[in-house]
Amino acid sequence: MDLVLSEDQELIAKTAGDFVKQKSPIARVRQLRDTNDPVGFSRALWKEMAELGWVGIAFPESVGGAGLGFAELAVVMEELGRTLAPEPFLSTVLLAGQALLLSGDAGKAAAWLPRVCKGEAILALAQQEARSRYDLAAVETRAEKAGAGYRISGEKIQVLDGHVADAFVVAARTAGGPRDAKGITLFLVPKGAAGLTLTRQARLDGRNAALVRFDGVGVGADAALGALDAGHELLASAVDRATVGLCAEMLGGMQQAFALTVEHLKTRIQFGVPIGSFQALKHRAANVFIELELAKSAVMAAARAVDDAEPDLAKLVSLAKARCADAYVLAANEGVQMFGGVGMTDEYDIGFYMKRARAAELTFGDAAFHRARWAALSGY
């Protein structure tokens, strides 16, 4: 793999960067929050992003995508992450979208992905449960045989964009105990199904999420996505890919948080001089910079590893997530400290990055989780 942007990728980055500056300043996120917007993102902007080719950028042309890869998707996500754009990439393109694509179910892919690529359908992955933390095998939601189909019962939490999703990919147990990797099956459930209840949740970072309750939701046998009882592997692959996307978004966010901080260091005057002239702050700023550069390399490598189907993809995903988790939290925490008192106010943007850094850290596994995964994958 080459860890450098091609000319085409540079162009995508420039286009996305300009778009974000003009149409998606962080003030938009603030307004969506302050007005309690029922959707929580802009459907019009989502449609525009689809028309620019970004929503379908990594999907094959056969399902209406651009046929590019995660290297390109990562470039777009990084730019969107700079201003915390709330549009449903993570849920629709990455989690549920990748599960659909990787399932090999051509019928369901053809039914949903072209609409996804056009910005017309929102998808969500209903996976997380109250006791699952980061363990994808911890599934207590049950799908029990009922006639020719199944009845699904259980509760999923923090289902990203679940409040507006047109369909859900649900992880349910068809066999085995509550933490067994074997015996999990993914199902595709459309919105409005009888027994499905959506309750919007409020998260600290404003990322849109919902509680999704299944009270004996009936589905046909053909609702299963991928092989019966073998959903864990599919889930793990989709979550790994989503993690790469999340890391790219985090990379954009941490760079922006750091840029705000460095600007503050140059302009804030105390003791008659810019505070950025103090060596105590210079060295800490240099440390943040070092971590950002390392995170960038790890994200580029993980994205390219998806595209090249590298054998050590899982390790590179863990590397990227561990680095991004630590680096984003560091950049945000140092940012608030260096802004001083005003960094604690809601009026300043740096706090938005601190909240997002924490939320992103605790999504798909924190750094300690990924170090443990790296160790397991390395045989110690």
Binding site: L3, L281, A285, I290, R371, G379, Y380
Partner: protein
Amino acid sequence: MSDLESFRSETRAWLEANCPPALRGKGGSELEGVWGGRKWDWSGLPDQKRWLERCAERGFSAPTWPRAYGGGGLAPEQAKVLAEEMRRLKAPPPLIGFGLTMIGPTLLAFGNEEQKQEHLPRITRGEIRWCQGYSEPGAGSDLAGLQTRATGDGDHYVINGTKVWTSYANYADWIFALVRTDPNAKKQEGITFLLIDMDTPGVSVRPIKLISGSSPFCETHFENVRVPKKNVVHKVNAGWTVAKALLGHERTMVAEAFGSGGGAGGKRGTLGERAKHHLGSENGRLADPVFRDQLAQLEMDTRAFGLTMQRAKDAARAGHQPGAESSIFKVYGTEVNMRRQELLVRIAGPQGLGWEGPGFDPEELATTRDWLRSRGNSIEGGTSEVQRNVIAKRVLGLPD
């Protein structure tokens, strides 16, 4: 077949025909590097000698230098192919040292034709070993405060002063040194970059014993040493420009040496295997979960650093100017190596406490000495603090 592919097959055939079989498979840490020079002891190293002679003849001891100066004249992508083919055979580099990594590139950028003709071919053949005369007892991080005086006397300079931390000066034939030619100018503006033959009368060298017990560094004294003025590189009083460019080469070299050791645990295999040896394993996993976490952190830091160095190289090959990422190499590469050495000693536990003699195996003793030596990594070649100042000023643009 593309040009690059035919270059690869030619190179592969040449290596097969010319790399002495006894050296193949030993390109890792098994062999001591060949530094060359007039004082180099070749006895017992006939294969290394032959390997260097053949490589030098083909230009492969300095693959990217121009052919006119003993190099291979290779383009960067060809040099990458050569490195890949060398790795395939696990062949050791024919020659290492500061001639190839520091003064050579500096002469290519700043030397005049006569200097290039005189020095570069002798470096590529391993005939002359170089050392670096920068720091002084009174000029460490504040390098521009150096006091070694060069006083004009006809077509010579007369040098008086002391250089310290001159690596392997006791084995070197020539030294490239910073000397003060104008004591009245602003401190950076009175410095000249000068090449000095160590055999000149008045040069004396005293090795310095370190806390690790080894003596890789020396103190080098100059007492009325007469050096021809033609040995000035670039212009008189413009040595600071040359010095800074060379420091860039030095920091890259240091980073590559320390940062790329990911996974290496010596004869006991990977770091994970070495940790299992000392700490035990349960169901195939390292028994101690705290060390497991620390080991993973270290390996991941090393990998991320390796990827960052790769990113810089890939960007350079794509024709980009060196980016901000290269400013982190020295500080991070050395600090990650220091953490590795700390971890290895702690993994060894009480067996990491040996100095010499019975009860400790050679690898345990080496671990202890390597850890002690590594404490200098964040000091030599620009301290971590100076590096962070450089990042803050040059990359982040923070005010003085």
